[in-house]
Amino acid sequence: MDATTLGDLRSLAEALLIEMEQWLEPSLPMAVQDAAQTVLDLFGNPPDLDHRAVPWGREVLHLIYFDYAVGDVQLLAGVVQPLLLPQGIAEPSAVVSGSIKRMQTITAAGQALLEGQVLVGASSWSDWWAADVANPPLRAISEPKNEEVIHGPHTGFIEDTTVNLWLLRQFVRTPLLRVEQMTVGGLTQTPVTLVWVAGISQQAVIERLKAKISQLDLDGIIDSSELAELLGGSRLLPTFQYSERPDQVASALLEGRVAVFAGSSPTALMEPAGLVHLMASVGDYYQMASLATMTRILRYLALVLAIVLPPLYVALLTVNAELIPMNLALTIGHSRIAIPFPVLVETLLMMAAIDLVQEAGMMMPGAMGQTVTIVGALVVGDAAVKAGIVSAPTVVVVAVAMLAQLMLPDSNLEGMVRLVRYPLVLLGSVFGIVGVTTGIVILIAEAAQTMSLSLPYLEPFAPRGQGLFRDTVLRLPVTYQNRRPSTSHQATKR
């Protein structure tokens, strides 16, 4: 047996031992020095886990905590100084100002350390204690870069659920705001927080969400987007809405939807989410209703164009050329005379090039990404036309489809649009407009039959719901939006 195998076996045995200890929940050793060593051994004596032994009269005060998770000032002022002043106290809870809990098992002590608490022990005490002096490094509250608005609040969630909940409470100042925390992941122990407004949200939706989360059996999750995938739904259509904006999440809560925070993710999931939710941008509510309506109509038109334009172009030029008006057919034909590729190859090439440029732009940081996208698209498009690889009409069609797709406010919806275009283009190239029509029927049928928890994905279009035109394709003035949507407990007056 070689050293690598032995090392693997040792790691496995250690992991198994920790699992067993978590299950058996053994008590901390009585001797304070032994207990401290047990806790350090639990984590494998990592360099970021500090163990301080402070002389305290005739004995020694033991402090164990993770560096950077605990604030020095809070530790000194909240724990060390109060304990050092009155010597010989029986329990630290009498003098420590903040939250402090008794720790009896190794598992609980380990969990407290991971939550940023400090473990305090002394030989004269019967137990160890965990004091909450956590002050992990957090970034400042700022507006999310992907969801900026001209008017309206400029705050965004950060990587701390407590702060995020506080931000949310600034918008929904009611005791009816309910918060429930669950834990997901055997290893990561990720806190998953459900937020809803009692009396507005449907209890069935909350229970179903809770049941789904409690059934998750996995090592762990890192981000809320993983949770969205794990909670199921359609594999083609996005059935969750993401936001880093507290105002948007607050609006969703007032519609009776449920917000889910996972771990240290600044992104909240909003459930249920239908197409109308994904097509609405938070900025729509911060501008005049007439302008917002125009934007919405453009956005729905963009959704249709982004999906249909390239496939129809290929279908018409490949199979159903007789359906193109004569003048237009002549113009397109003239520009395609010198192109060596068939329309299908030409369009697929251009679509792939545009997608590559877009992905490259996303990978590059900040302004450089924008530059890459703009320069890439311009240079690639222009060079391809000049080189005679693709025709100008093809570039126009693919570029318009790309612009239309970028108008969609939800990134998952945008991705879905990009994805479905490829099979539709292939269908169009073989079966012409019959193929494109078939693809669209399949897409509509799939969307119509998809559910996001208990909400039909295309409601209020299918099935027809209340307020069909109040806040969907149109955005009527707030005075007309006097009834809650169907996602709420009952369609009562706001």
Binding site: V319, N320, E322, L323, I324, P325, M326, N327, F431, G432, I433, V434, G435, V436, T437, T438, I440, V441, I442, I444, A445, E446, A447, A448, Q449, P456, L458, F461, A462, P463, R464
Partner: protein, 373 residues
């Protein structure tokens, strides 16, 4: 029952169950046969179709809304007749595949074999039927309004091509001949109701359900009358009788502002979508019957098997002549009357039993199936 449709959804489903045929197939058939008297003929066919609707509604009132036809038939007519009912329902799907492949091959994909067109259609129909009536009705909720808008636009544009003298004189010149021609369009107008007669998966009282179905039927009949009027007025009785799809031919004539031509580009996709939905309606109806006969059989299996078998039948008679023979001889003269007798007979029998049962106390009723388990 797991599925629950609204009355509005039922009315739209009912309309979609017949409209595709009234848009493309029936106007040509009627104009070919009776020429100038086509308007009278379609009026007569509509009235006859509505009369059948009323009769079947009356017959089905005894049990509905507790059960669907597939439920009452085993008790009232026996399992063998239920099988016959299922087979007859499936035969309607053959006619629909015929319509689809004939139209698509004639107008949009002349070089594509009909089996390829039908295989593509079957894929779409399978997705539409995935979640039974409820899923299908939601798909219809999206597509039907778009189709309605397209229809109104087309009707308005083609109305500009109508020439008054083509419509005059409106005289019933050959009454006996015209009455004979009423039969086939009437069977198509009435076919939707036969399949949906005991539309028991809908929320509402029997009277409301009947009203919704009749409303859907009236829309289909109205569409047929408008299309025949437009085709006759635009093309005239002679030329209109020579083309297979007269309204489509009229749409091809449209020139808007000198540039916007080929507006059949809008009509073709709209019609194909509606025909897919129509086929989906009938496939679910057959699957319901199949699962009533063999309780543990899979819903998907019925949809796929029925789709493939009917597709094979349709491909086997792929010439226009054989399709017409199938429609006139098999469908018009044999299968539709049989289907109608089964539906009305089952309804009357159920009504009679219901009255008898209500005198002697309630009798347990089998639960209906209305989609995938």
């Amino acid at each position: 029952m797991s599925a629950r449709l609204s009355l509005r959804q039922l009315a739209i489903l009912q309309s979609v169950a017949t409209v595709p045929t009234t848009l493309v197939f029936l106007p040509g058939l009627t104009l070919q046969k009776v020429g100038h008297d086509a308007v009278w003929t379609v009026f007569g066919a509509s009235l006859l179709g509505l009369a059948w609707t009323a009769l079947i509604a009356w017959a089905g009132r005894g049990k509905s809304p507790q059960v669907v036809l597939a439920d009452i038939t085993p008790r009232c007519l026996g399992r063998g007749l239920l099988l016959l009912y299922g087979i007859t329902l499936a035969s309607v799907i053959i006619a629909q595949w015929d319509e689809l492949s004939a139209f698509v091959q004639a107008e949009l994909l002349p070089a594509t074999p009909s089996w390829a067109v039908l295989a593509l259609a079957l894929c779409a129909v399978m997705v539409c039927t995935r979640k039974g009536w409820l899923g299908l009705s939601r798909t219809v909720d999206i597509i039907a309004p778009l189709a309605a808008v397209a229809f109104v636009m087309m009707a308005a544009w083609t109305a500009s091509l109508v020439q008054g003298w083509n419509l005059l004189p409106w005289l019933l010149l050959h009454p006996v001949h015209d009455l004979k021609a009423v039969w086939l369009p009437a069977t198509f107008i009435g076919e939707g109701f036969v399949g949906m007669a005991y539309a028991d998966f809908t929320k509402g009282t029997p009277r409301q359900i009947t009203t919704a179905v009749v409303a859907g039927q009236v829309v289909s009949s109205g569409v047929l009358v408008v299309v025949v009027l437009l085709a006759l007025g635009g093309l005239g009785p002679v030329y209109g009788g020579m083309v297979t799809y007269p309204w489509y031919a009229l749409i091809k004539e449209l020139r808007l502002d000198g540039f916007l031509t080929h507006l059949e580009f809008l009509f073709g996709p709209m019609w194909i979508m509606l025909l897919y939905l129509k086929s989906a309606i009938w496939l679910i109806a057959v699957a319901d019957v199949g699962r009533k006969i063999w309780h543990k059989s899979p819903y998907w299996g019925w949809i796929l098997a029925t789709g493939l078998v009917t597709m094979a039948f349709s491909v086997s008679h792929s010439t226009d002549t054989s399709r017409l023979v199938y429609l006139r001889v098999w469908w018009g003269n044999r299968e539709f009357p049989l289907l109608w007798i089964l539906a009305v007979g089952g309804g009357i029998s159920a009504r009679w039993r219901h009255q008898k049962d209500s005198q002697h106390g309630p009798v347990p009723v089998e639960s209906s199936s209305s989609g995938p388990a």
